[in-house]
């Protein structure tokens, strides 16, 4: 996959950057521009428009675009969601779109081969082996197992055999320490005092991203109750919150 062939000629016009998407992608992957400042939906719409206007779809161009967008989305999700393993992001940055394209081809091949594996597993399950071991005439060959075994050893063995299957390891999931009740109280207090606020102000005291998310959910809850009115002048613009609740 050469750079020229993958070059889309597709250009974007965004507040942070105007020019060929290829250049934008490089800037993003080199971390010269923050991925959170790039609305991927807008870029995708632009790409679809560009593709429609062209005479016909270029498979390579589309695949390359998809590979880049997949990386950008994963980066963006990484930025927006709390995550402890910063290393993941570093590794993603190191992935070039061409490599991602190659990997997508590889994955397609692996998906094809899974059908073969599944079929073989199915067919082989019809062969039943004999698991009984030596017949009873050979019982005398079994060792005297208590020769070197203590009560402690036996307990350990029993524990290993009788232990229930391992529970799902959730250590990689960040516990959410912020409650909806706390968020509702904070939003209410602010709005009852000020009657109106921008979302940015409502989360100004938040220390973690997850706290912002919970505040946002609290806001939606208040909206559902009819306690607040929400306004957004433009896509990705500021969200304005007006207090409608009983004073």
């Amino acid at each position: 996959m050469s750079e020229e062939r993958a070059d889309t000629g597709f250009a974007v016009e965004l507040p942070v950057f105007t020019g060929p998407f290829r250049v934008l992608a490089d800037l993003l992957l080199e971390q010269k521009i923050d991925v959170c400042d790039v609305p991927i939906a807008v870029v995708t719409e632009g790409f679809l428009r560009h593709a429609r206007d062209a005479d016909r779809w270029s498979l390579e161009e589309a695949t390359w675009f998809l590979a880049v967008c997949a990386i950008l989305l994963e980066l963006k999700v990484g930025r927006l969601m709390p995550r402890h393993e910063a290393i993941d992001e570093e590794d993603l940055i190191g992935v070039s779109p061409d490599l991602a394209y190659a990997r997508s081809m590889e994955l397609a091949a692996f998906r094809r081969v899974t059908a073969w594996i599944a079929e073989r597993l199915e067919r082989e399950a019809l062969h039943v082996p004999r698991l009984a071991g030596p017949p009873q005439e050979f019982a005398h060959l079994y060792p005297d197992v208590l020769e070197k075994v203590t009560a402690q050893d036996l307990a350990r063995i029993a524990a290993s055999v009788l232990r229930p299957p391992p529970v799902l390891d959730l250590s990689h999931v960040t516990p959410i320490r912020y409650t909806m009740a706390e968020a509702l109280r904070a939003v209410r207090a602010h709005l009852e005092r000020r009657r109106a606020a921008r979302f940015r102000e409502l989360v100004a005291d938040c220390e973690e991203r997850i706290q912002v998310v919970v505040r946002f959910l609290a806001l939606l809850e208040l909206y559902r109750e009819g306690a607040v009115e929400l306004r957004q002048a433009e896509t990705f613009g500021e969200v304005e919150v007006l207090w409608e609740g009983g004073a």
Partner: protein
């Protein structure tokens, strides 16, 4: 293949996966034929093994048909079992003994379910060694035999009663596969 050939094939497969004598009636049910026919087929099969000097023999013992190894192959088998299966046998025996000790009274079937493999041979070996014995029969269909440990088992471990077995609860969380393997060596 003739219908008779198919029956013989299925019969041989049934006997192959069984570790204990299978009553003709049970074979007949599985094959969808009558008992007499099963007995005739088994006799035929037994004769064919004999004629070709096979390493396996088919015998009618203890109320059922059972495949086992030819007595003439015993010397080679013993060498093979002692040389290469010994560690596996030890592990299987220890696991089975641990299950009987902590779960008694327990059926063969329960042991096999816990270990994930047929453990009848191991159980027999433990009985022969005087560590495990029949302690009764379970109520319910088939009234399966229940197994438990013997006084000799306690004595060998230096325990005065089953109540002295180490409690399992603290180990269930902490025990690692590694320690079990160590214990089996």
């Amino acid at each position: 293949m003739t219908e008779r050939g198919e029956l013989r094939r299925d019969l041989e497969a049934l006997l192959f996966v069984s570790d204990e004598p299978v009553p003709s009636a049970e074979l007949a049910r599985s094959l969808g034929v009558d008992r007499r026919q099963v007995d005739t087929l088994c006799e035929e099969l037994a004769r064919s093994y004999e004629e070709r000097g096979a390493g396996i023999v088919l015998r009618n013992v203890a109320g059922g048909w059972r495949l086992t190894t030819s007595p003439e192959a015993a010397p080679v088998l013993e060498r093979f079992v002692l040389a290469s299966r010994h560690v596996r046998l030890t592990k299987a025996a220890l696991e089975t003994l641990a299950i009987v000790a902590y779960k008694q009274p327990v059926t063969r079937h329960q042991i096999a379910s816990i270990r994930g493999v047929n453990s009848d041979g191991v159980l027999r070996a433990l009985i022969e060694r005087g560590l495990v014995t029949e302690v009764g029969r379970e109520e319910g269909p088939g009234r399966p035999v229940l197994y438990g440990t013997t006084p000799e088992f306690l004595e060998r471990l230096g325990l005065s009663s089953l109540a002295d077995l180490l409690p399992l609860a603290p180990l269930l969380g902490a025990a690692e596969e590694g320690t079990a393997a160590d214990g089996a060596d």
